[in-house]
């Protein structure tokens, strides 16, 4: 465990070294928040509630969604596929560490950095500049846990796509496709309530909503009862376990076809 924490500490430091990237991220995020603010303002024009959500609820959902999006976007798939293509994977494999946990903790480090540099400023902007009130409730208390589980589900998706590079040697198309599917089906762009009912029912059985919809709902509607939240968390945990085991088994297969050429 201590060794993985050292890895985390290392990638956190790398995040600090490249701090200027975060400045641009913050700037981009602020612009996005303002655009979505006026977009949803006009969608809600004159109406109090749409699909059971008030404007504030929807906006908290969407704006926080963009901050979570940056938090979860750790480029694990790109970095891993690059390492596989270029043979850098060898320098992980010579170390007495588990690849999956190594990469997980490495991306934790980056994410902690973006948590401090992007997610927190987003909250501050929302509360103090746009005067959005975040309602207090048990959902808010469960949010950190739900976010962590969402992080692990998202990580498994990225890690899986990265591993595909063992077979395909390039994941450009795969990664873009995954990105679109996850963004739309997970409710990262718009709350799932705005989807047609049948599609909502189907999505409930898929792992995508565990990434954005679940944690964001906890903040947007924190006053729903514990009976609603617990099954949501349980489902998240279920997907974390299933996907973790699945990617592990997949890794054991994929590593067999590893070729490292050129020295």
């Amino acid at each position: 465990m201590k060794s993985y924490l050292a890895v985390l500490r290392g990638s956190f430091m790398i995040g600090l070294i490249y701090r200027y990237g975060f400045l641009f991220n913050i700037a981009g995020n602020i612009i996005y928040m303002l655009v979505t603010y006026y977009l949803w303002k006009s969608i809600y024009q004159g109406r109090e509630v749409l699909r059971g959500l008030t404007f504030d609820q929807t906006y908290i959902y969407v704006a926080l969604g963009s901050a979570v999006f940056i938090l979860l976007k750790t480029y694990v798939d790109w970095l891993l596929s690059f390492d596989i293509r270029e043979g850098m994977i060898a320098s992980y494999l010579i170390k007495p560490i588990d690849l999956q946990f190594y990469i997980l903790f490495n991306s934790f480090g980056y994410s902690l950095m973006s948590l401090a540099a992007i997610t927190l400023p987003t909250l501050i902007l929302m509360i103090f500049v746009l005067h959005i009130e975040i309602p207090l409730g048990i959902g808010l208390a469960l949010f950190p846990l739900s976010l962590l589980l969402a992080y692990l589900v998202s990580f498994c998706f990225d890690y899986f796509v990265g591993l595909l590079c063992f077979y395909t040697e390039s994941i450009w198309g795969l990664s873009i496709t995954k990105e679109i599917i996850v963004t739309v089906l997970s409710g990262a762009l718009i709350p799932l309530q705005f989807f047609p009912d049948t599609i909502q029912k189907i999505l409930f059985w898929l792992p995508f909503q565990a990434i954005y919809y679940t944690p964001l709902t906890m903040v947007a509607q924190p006053n729903l009862s514990m009976d609603t939240f617990l099954p949501m968390l349980g489902l998240q945990l279920f997907w974390v376990i299933v996907l973790f085991v699945f990617t592990r088994l997949f890794y054991n297969q994929a590593i067999k076809v590893l070729r490292i050429s050129g020295g």
Binding site: S3, G10, I14, M88, L93, I97, I260
Partner: protein, 340 residues
Amino acid sequence: MSLIHVQELKKHFNVLNRREGIGGAFRDLFSGDYRTVEAVAGISFDIEAGEVVGYIGPNGAGKSTTIKMMTGILKPSGGVLQVNGSVPYDNRIRQAQIMGVVFGQRTQLWWDLPVIESFKILKEIYKVDQKTFDKHMNMFNELVGLNALYSQQVRTLSLGQRMLCDIAASFLHNPQVVFLDEPTIGLDISVKAKIRSLIKTLNEERKTTIILTTHDLGDVEALCHRIIIIDKGKTLYDGDIKRVTALFGAYRTLKLQIDPFDESTLEALREKLTTHFGAENSFTIAQTEEFWTDVTFDQAHTPLSDVLGVVMSNFKVSDVRIVEIAMEDVVQRVYDGALR
């Protein structure tokens, strides 16, 4: 029981036969036309603890593939491979603890972090205690002055500095065996000398087993007691370095620019040299690159100055270079039966 036991080790890769051009690339999308490439075709050797073994061969001979199997990165296709009594691929994480690896082409350090931070992370990864860590860091500092580099980002190091750091890092956790895959590639003479003395000292002080692949015969001469030459995935020679040094130590290649040059020049050169020195002294004459004619011979039998004299008095030579024998030539000579 030897530290490393390799018997009839094999590794083959399936490679897609790629066709030419855009049309070919499209057809490759649906192609199942794989061919099998035998990178390692049955190699056997045993290495005892504390040995320094030079593992050499031309490009594509299968050196790196063997190293990657011994370090547990690649799964062998056949044969027996044991390091310290267990199979590297099946117990990768446990085995990695007793090995150190340097790939000359890539670094195992953290590219974006200062050097010292990489060492700190490695300390945790390999579970090195603070006392050992301090002791080793002091030693690395005495040997190569590592302290001066601590605060530099790895990516800003020169190739030579990076290599010294990488080699030091591979010894940090006191491994039983260290694999050095082309540690001197692309380095100048003075850095090479530094690296050789670092490796030599570490081997002597720690009794670490070292397996070294290189293209520089100077590395082998300076460091190894034993040499394994492989080519096309097969062992050509395995034994004492002295017989091999005797073979390439005295050989020199004379590179000549002969002007005017035509097809008959090579034949004429061979004839002149043979008549002068007799048929028992073998000369290898070949044109290896444009304008340059290579004459390789044994200095112990034929003095360099005599050969040069004969060439100069019979041909119009516009430029001359003298180089030590290249790896490829050594392998060729072993093929030709020089060590039998």
